[in-house]
């Protein structure tokens, strides 16, 4: 069996160098996709028959919600890999994923709230999906808080990995139970239309935005991970060399 790739993947040095090469291109791609999607969605996509222009919030709302959720599973997977294979890099990825996920969850809730006002006449409703998302935000906050609360790096890694994993077991349970709860209570004032089959002219920019958010997510994750790598590998020779070379570069400029 050829496991070389696996170990290489686990090497912070390899990750750092590879991302140094790829990140500029990926960032460019993310930027292009996001810019195209936004302009298309905000200016060119046709107006929604019922909601008017407020529906354009969908181009931020849906990608953010989507990645917030995906990000949680990614974080938990990284934590699990760290616990099982004791791979340092994967803890770093986990640590990086938490603030990004929390920010995106907040974004989903915020854009949802400002969408809710014109649509439902209220910034907030206790809808099943929204409630679950709020709980997801709490789960993210929990992981973040645990990471900062521990003074010991190792304990912090392990504790937040376990919490992330416990959270993944819980997310489906939470979604199911909240959904069930909502059908029990179904308030009369609000009716959630089931997703209407969207017109392709509206859907295409959404697709572009989702792709753009994906790329952006990867870029942000890499950037956060790189900082973490530097912080934790500060004593290694390669970081020393890195500093040395950058210092030389600065001196060379002078």
């Amino acid at each position: 069996m050829n496991w070389v790739w696996f170990y290489r993947l686990g090497s912070p040095l390899w990750f750092y160098q590879t991302t140094t090469r790829w990140l500029p291109w990926l960032s460019l791609l993310a930027f292009m996709l996001l810019a195209t999607g936004l302009v298309w969605g905000l200016g060119f996509a046709p107006q929604d028959a019922k909601q008017g222009n407020s529906f354009r919030i969908i181009y931020m709302h849906v990608p953010a919600s989507f990645l917030a959720l995906v990000g949680y599973f990614l974080m938990a997977a990284a934590g699990a890999i760290g616990l099982i294979w004791k791979m340092k890099l994967s803890y770093m990825v986990m640590k990086a994923a938490a603030p990004i996920g929390a920010a995106l969850t907040f974004l989903a809730l915020f854009t949802g709230a400002v969408w809710g006002k014109p649509t439902w006449g209220s910034y907030w409703v206790w809808d099943a999906r929204i409630t679950s998302m709020l709980i997801l935000l709490f789960l993210y906050f929990g992981v973040l808080a645990l990471q900062y609360a521990f003074h010991n790096e190792e304990a912090s890694n392990k504790a937040s990995a376990v919490l992330a994993l416990v959270g993944t077991v819980n997310i489906p349970i939470i979604y199911k139970s909240v959904d069930w709860w909502y059908t029990l209570h179904q308030p009369s004032t609000i009716k959630l239309t089931s997703a209407p089959s969207m017109h392709p002219d509206m859907f295409q920019p959404l697709l572009v935005m989702i792709l753009g958010f994906y790329c952006f997510y990867v870029v942000a994750l890499c950037l956060f991970t790189r900082v973490e790598i530097l912080r934790r590998e500060r004593k290694t020779t390669w970081v020393g060399d890195l500093i040395g070379s950058s210092n030389n570069a600065v001196e060379g400029e002078k």
Binding site: F141, A145, F150, E154, A155, A159, V166, I174, S177, W181
Partner: protein, 227 residues
Amino acid sequence: MRKYTSDGFYAYLRRDLLQSHRRLGEAASPLIFFVMASTLVPLGITPDPASLAEIASGIIWVFALLATMLSVGGLFAGDYQDGSLEQLLISPQVLVMPVLGKVTAHWLITGLPLTLVSPLLGLMLFLPEAGYLPMTASLALGTACLSLLGAVGAALTVSLQKGGMLLALIVMPLYMPVIIFGAATVQYGIDGLAWTAPLAILGAMLAAAIALCPLAIASVLRLTSIN
């Protein structure tokens, strides 16, 4: 040496019960909180019997949950501070049984009294009659769930310098399904629906929690003790 795994269970159960017996003031605090908080409701919200009747089941469940959460934070704190937790971690026995013993003691001190006293609160908050049985049944199962889940959070935060209440952030999401089905059981009972259905789900959750939580707690205690 404790060669038999069940020994750890009884030893810790007995010790924790004895300790709470010695300081009843502390042990009774979840109960006091539960009763006191519920008496605030008519003062703060509304004294109107009809309105109270509507929210009674929810209020009781919310306060039962909060009372459990607040007390579970200290589950391992005392043992951590005086060094007994370290002794437990370096003892040859399997960690799961002592942990289960401690959680059981916690439920006996917290969840059980809450369950027993809840009809009284139901009376004070004008809970409709059909709600009493589902309420006590759901509280009995639900608080056990809450103790187990809360203990996971307590284990995660035990080695933090008094990080006790970070706990709320960690366990509250885990508690959400429990309160949903707990409150629903009572609501079903009041509405004359088949309240055994949500109760059964609570039971299933409890079974899963009994199987999984002690394992999780044991490994978390081992993992985070490095500091």
